[in-house]
């Protein structure tokens, strides 16, 4: 099949790239090997939360901090994207969220500080409006609310940890029952989210909270399960019934907040006429004279060649199986080259589970235009551009830059693809 630009991936980098191409008026096709971690993990767009992976003090003003980082580290993914792409991609996403009917808040010059399910303060730049009432820079007391039998959010643990980590004085926890759920039933946040779309269920939960939570200005934090398909309405109705400001806290996978974001953006692209090729992992690139003529998808029964003028590889590294690690090599699915990382397995992991993991940084070596490069720094193909997790040195976890790096590099790679 033929198109102007083919974007390979399903994460925020791929979505931002597809949106960028779409806005230029060119034709784009999205190739999805399977869903990315965006689908079940993320919930916010974090631009830069900490200057380094080990820094203790969170960043309040991400725009300045990113500019500093770019000046200091010329091979950092932000530096490769450039400050213009960082700013433009944030603007692109905010506008897109609005157009797609996603109620989100935030701006590039300030971070929210929102509590996580483990009671950690987490800096993030853009967040759903249903989360921002939990901002820890506000002084009002917090009550974390859990549900009896729901194992993915323990309000007592979150409250105690937040008090310890943040020194927040007025944090407490309650548990309420969710009608139809209990210890005998195994359920996830998805089940609860579906139930919250039912007014009777919602009111039964809100009624208990109204009774148990007293005091002026108290903010109520609930796990992020307030509706799946019509979150704006569900959230507003629940908050009204509770009678206090309510905020959602993202849960462990499957994260309903992430699901909402992903499903809405996906549908919005499809509504705009962008085609998605499902379930067809790309497994080879046909490259002659340094130009990629097509990528080959593993469709059922045979190969499906996708011919485009340019390609954006917006894959993750490990989650979506973009890279396969052997004992001595790491290979990519397109060029079948051992990519810029050939360390022995013992060097791939850090001893502490919670440290930054070297394997996260595995990825394509790149040219200045984000083209995957060979050992001599020459592009493997002039019309292929890389964004997101498959870039070498891309590790958003410690610095809390998941989402921000994805959209900035996705935007930049798409601009390069349009110019190619």
């Amino acid at each position: 099949m033929k198109t102007d630009v083919a974007v390979i991936g399903t994460g925020l980098a791929a979505l931002a790239a597809a949106r960028t191409v779409q806005q230029s008026g060119r034709q784009v096709v999205l190739v999805w090997p399977g869903l990315s971690s965006l689908y079940f993990l993320s919930a916010t767009v974090d631009v830069l939360g900490y200057p380094t992976a080990t820094a203790a003090e969170p960043i309040a003003h991400p725009a300045e901090a990113v500019a500093r980082l770019i000046a200091q580290e010329p091979t950092h993914p932000y530096a490769r994207a450039g400050m213009n792409a960082v700013e433009a991609s944030i603007a692109l996403m905010l506008e897109w969220f609005k157009e797609a009917g996603l109620a989100w808040e935030g701006a590039i010059d300030r971070n929210f500080l929102l509590p996580t399910a483990t009671g950690m303060p987490k800096p993030c730049c853009l967040a759903p409006a249903s989360m921002t009432a939990g901002d820890l820079s506000r002084p009002q007391p917090l009550v974390f609310c859990g549900f009896t039998g729901y194992q993915d959010f323990a309000p007592e643990f979150a409250a105690a940890n937040l008090t310890r980590q943040w020194g927040a004085a007025d944090v407490s926890a309650v548990r309420v029952t969710a009608p139809g759920y209990g210890a005998e039933r195994l359920f996830t946040s998805i089940d609860l989210a579906r139930s919250f779309e039912d007014a009777a269920f919602r009111d039964a939960v809100a009624g208990q909270l109204r009774e148990r939570v007293t005091g002026d200005g108290v903010r109520v934090g609930v796990p992020g399960v307030l509706g799946l398909t019509m979150p704006n309405e569900t959230f507003a109705a629940f908050q009204r019934a509770v009678g206090h400001p309510v905020f959602e806290i993202p849960t462990v996978p499957p994260s309903v907040i992430a699901l909402r974001l992903f499903d809405r953006l996906r549908k919005h692209l499809q509504e705009a006429g962008i085609e998605i090729i499902w379930a067809a992992p790309a497994h080879a690139a046909d490259v002659t004279d340094q130009r990629c003529r097509s990528i080959l998808l593993k469709a059922a029964g045979h190969e499906l060649p996708v011919e485009a003028a340019a390609y954006v590889l917006a894959l993750e590294d490990w989650v979506d199986g973009a890279f396969r690690a052997g004992v001595h090599t790491v290979r990519d699915p397109f060029f079948h080259q051992a990519i810029a990382w050939n360390k022995v397995p013992t060097d791939r992991t850090a001893e502490s589970l919670f440290a930054s993991q070297p394997f996260e940084e595995v990825g394509y070596a790149l040219t200045d235009r984000l083209q995957p490069a060979d050992v001599n720094g020459k592009p493997l193909a002039r019309n292929v551009f890389c964004a997101g997790g498959a870039m070498a040195g891309y590790d958003p976890s410690g610095t809390k830059s998941r989402g921000g790096m994805a959209i900035a590099t996705g935007y930049r790679a798409a601009q390069e693809a349009l110019a190619a």
Partner: protein, 410 residues
């Protein structure tokens, strides 16, 4: 810490995803239409890769709730690690049926071609019975087919016999073999006629090779041995055909069986050579278009159409060629109704104990179809069309029928 002496001599990179590739991300559970609609189904993650670790061919398959998996394969479409989630469930279902035996109902439903032969031979009687409320009560009581599920009408003149009398075009640029499937043969000959007309309008001579049921009804009724037997027959009939020409299928699930499941699920030797030349009919025509060979002399078709993408079409990994093709036709206003699985999943929603669940799965789709108020709902899969007609009171068609209409046929 991993020992430094660890120094194997070969560098192995696993190519096929195994059960160990499952990272427990739960993406599959979130898209499962059954899990969305009932709280007694534990979801593809638990029933597929999780339980697979405890299964062995020597031990009884005792996972409760296995039969609630409808086989839509959306879990596999979603899986970031390309784990064959549904195939694990399928094999366990089959193992369970082998041990416990199958009901008469499932025995019958797995034999679509036999049903078709009987149904078309006795067409007026079969159709009367299938539409008769008293008969349907008895059928529900004694066979287990839900009384409210409309059953397909049988036709006396089969597609096979129609085609024998169909005059071949005088000249053609190429030949293609048509795998019409049981539905076209026994229930919807007109669809087959239109598929042939659309192909012939493109200078293609249609060949109808000898063929058996693709086997998917047997697979979904936990009879993989029967499916394999059908598959072997088809591979035998079609192997000489693919030496000379491509094969097109107008049924999404038949096509997927030929392309993929014969080799992956049923492990039929030599089937990949056949599968490599099988195309969905819309996929095939789109390829023709990209090669600049599609006949673009369309009449205006002033219709507001809604496209429902069947779950199994997503598993083809070819996108939605029907939408691309139909948007070439002047007058066609086409939108996608993106509300997921329709719920019927072949024979799943026909069964007395699954009917309500199947209707609940499809309820979002039905609401969206009703709200859209289009002239017709299009779907490449025949049971999706049955379900949309039943649940939303809409009329439906296969996309090729719109193309045939644009060519002035029908």
């Amino acid at each position: 810490m991993i020992t430094e002496e660890f120094e194997p001599t070969t560098d192995t990179v696993e190519e096929e995803a195994s059960v160990e590739a499952c990272t427990k991300c739960t993406a599959c559970n979130t898209v499962c239409p059954v899990a969305r609609s009932t709280d007694i189904f534990r979801g593809p993650k638990a029933l597929g890769p999780d339980m697979e670790r405890f299964r062995s061919p020597q031990e009884a398959a005792v996972t409760p709730g296995l039969d609630l998996c409808s086989g839509c394969k959306l879990c596999e479409v979603t899986c970031p690690s390309q784990v064959s989630i549904q195939e694990y469930i399928r094999r366990a279902q089959n193992q369970g049926a082998r041990e416990k035996g199958r009901s008469l109902r499932d025995w019958v439903l797995g034999r679509t071609r036999l049903l078709g032969k009987l149904g078309s031979m006795t067409a007026p009687l079969a159709n009367f019975g299938n539409g008769n409320p008293l008969f349907r009560v008895l059928m529900e009581r004694f066979v287990g087919i839900h009384r409210r599920r409309p059953l397909p009408k049988y036709q006396w003149l089969t597609f096979e016999r129609w085609f024998k009398r169909h005059p071949q075009p005088a000249k053609s640029r190429r030949k293609v073999a048509y795998f019409y499937g049981c539905w076209v043969n026994y229930n919807d000959r007109r669809l087959g006629e239109r598929a042939v007309a659309a192909l012939e309008r493109n200078g293609i001579e249609v060949v109808v090779p000898r063929q058996q049921c693709c086997g998917i009804p047997a697979v979904v009724n936990s009879n993989m041995d029967l499916a394999r037997r059908y598959g072997l027959q088809n591979v035998r009939h079609l192997t000489p055909i693919v030496e000379e020409m491509d094969i097109v299928a107008s049924s999404t699930s038949c096509g997927l069986m030929l392309k993929h499941d014969y080799s992956h699920l049923l492990e039929i030797a030599g089937s990949e050579h056949v599968g490599a030349r099988v195309y969905d009919i819309m996929e095939y025509l789109w390829m023709l278009h990209e090669a600049g060979e599609l006949n673009l002399e369309f009449e205006t078709v002033p219709m507001r159409l809604l496209y429902h993408a069947p779950c199994h079409l997503k598993s083809h990994g070819i996108g939605y060629p029907a939408m691309r093709l139909l948007r070439l036709i002047p007058g066609v206003h086409l939108e996608e109704v993106d509300e997921g699985c329709c719920g019927i999943s072949g024979t799943f929603g026909v069964k007395v104990e699954k009917y309500d669940l199947s209707m609940k799965i499809g309820s979002r789709l039905f609401e969206a179809v009703k709200a859209a108020g289009s002239d017709q709902v299009l779907a490449d899969c025949e049971t999706c069309r049955m379900q949309v007609e039943h649940g939303a009171g809409a009329t439906s068609a296969h996309p090729i029928e719109i193309l045939a209409r644009a060519y002035g046929h029908g």
